[in-house]
Amino acid sequence: MKFPILKSLAVGAVALFAAGSVQAETLRVGMECTYAPFNYRTADGELAGYDVDVAKGVAEIIGADLEFVCQQWDGMIPALLANKFDLIVASMSITNTRLEKIDFSGPYRDSIGRLIGKADSDLNLFDDNGAPIAENFKGIRVGLERASTYENWFNATLPGAEIVLYDGSEPLYLDLVNGRVDVIMTNPMKAQLRFLSKEAGNKFAFVSPAISEVEFFGVGVGIGLRQGQDELRERLSAAIRELINNGSLKEYALKIFPFQIHNDEWGKS
């Protein structure tokens, strides 16, 4: 070639251009960081859990860098709207009320609830078909997390129940042990790991079947993002489908539970 310098310049320019285009976007991910086993800090201070694995898996597929932001649950959506971060990957169930404010990717985890009470108590709160017996809830104090889907389910299904609202799941367990509430409704996977399998929870057990009414609990847990980002939302959903279909999602769940916690149907687009 006549102009070796020009050539090398051109190559350099192409390389630069290419580097520029693969320069990964950085997505800031909001989560509680205290919601084990889905998002929490290990003893070394590293973030870990199912949500964290999903966030990393998705980021790898769409080629983005991640930055995690810890945010209290009741301020999660306001913080997303205030642009404190770009995605919520915090075990947030997809519900109609939330969809009024934010968008969600496709689901990546089941969303169910179960009640926990004293193991030796004879509360008899549900009949054999798994439907709640309203009159047996009279005089029973139920502990719930504020603004959770469980609260909505209770208000609609059992309006007579005496509900006590908490700001996190640790205070729920504490007050159940302390006897301030008779039962709590919470995420069974988390309760199993953080409470029932521990010494503090050994006198307690599930006192209800799995409650999964789609009307209240939504189709599942998804990644939350601000509205008007349809292209990003589609990339996230496609990445989640890929994680389901290549078995990664099941692998993430088996690290923690003896079973998968998603629906394989979700992998079909």
Binding site: L81, V164, L165, N178, G179
Partner: protein, 229 residues
């Protein structure tokens, strides 16, 4: 983000439904705190170390730690002990309301006793000497001379503390009580609209402060009727 004015109109009545709890917390802790403060004051000025010393420890602890921490210790900490759950106090401590009143009372009692002590120390020596000259006993001097003057001197600072107490009742929302702040936090969690709801809440508290301020202003004027005619 848009500012939804209609949400303010909708949420204010809901929050006002919690004003009863706020008032109950404020008046009950205010009254019990005042009684505690007088007891602590008498202990401190008794001149006996075994009375004055515990009072000083109480004041030091409750002025030296944040009220939120005190609430958490009483609410979450005390039930860790089996004997407390078996004691006669458990029916009170089981309820978040009882815990909140206890914490606010212990806290405001410590502050108010210091305010009252300032009032007592501010009483002019000459007046007490005049009392002695008239043949009043120490007890009579305390009741007829020190108490009314000290109350007048302490009132401005006390009204300040009462306003602090009113605002501190909002911390009860952290232990599941649905006072005005507790209801506001629930509305925020449902509507995801923190600005509208918390600003409305702030306005309600501001109005309450204004009312308390005006009320104490009147009492102050009444107590000073011989001093500033």
């Amino acid at each position: 983000m848009s500012f939804d004015l209609s949400l303010i109109y909708e949420s204010i009545p809901r929050m006002l439904s919690g004003i009863g709890i706020t008032f109950q917390l404020m008046f009950l802790s205010g009254l019990l705190g005042l009684i505690l403060a007088v007891i602590l004051l008498l202990m401190r000025i008794s001149g006996k170390w075994y009375l004055s010393w515990p009072a000083q420890v109480h004041i030091y602890i409750f002025r030296g730690t944040p009220i939120l921490v005190q609430i958490f210790i009483i609410y979450y900490g005390l039930p860790q002990f089996e004997f407390i759950r078996d004691s006669v106090f458990w029916p009170i401590l089981r309820e978040p309301f009882g815990c909140a009143v206890l914490a606010l009372t212990l806290n405001t009692g410590a502050y108010v006793s210091e305010i009252l002590r300032g009032g007592v120390l501010g009483v002019d020596r000459g007046i007490l000497e005049a009392g002695s000259a008239l043949g009043l006993s120490a007890r009579q001097k305390f009741i007829y001379l020190t108490t009314p003057i000290a109350a007048r001197l302490a009132l401005p600072a006390y009204s300040n503390d009462f306003i602090s107490l009113m605002k501190a009742t909002s911390l009860a929302s952290t232990i599941t009580l649905l006072d005005m702040t507790g209801i506001a936090r629930t509305i925020v969690a449902q509507t995801f609209a923190p600005y509208e709801v918390f600003i409305s809440l702030a306005i309600i508290y501001m109005i309450l402060t204004w009312i308390i301020q005006k009320t104490f202003g009147r009492i102050e004027k009444y107590l000073s009727r011989y001093v500033n005619p």
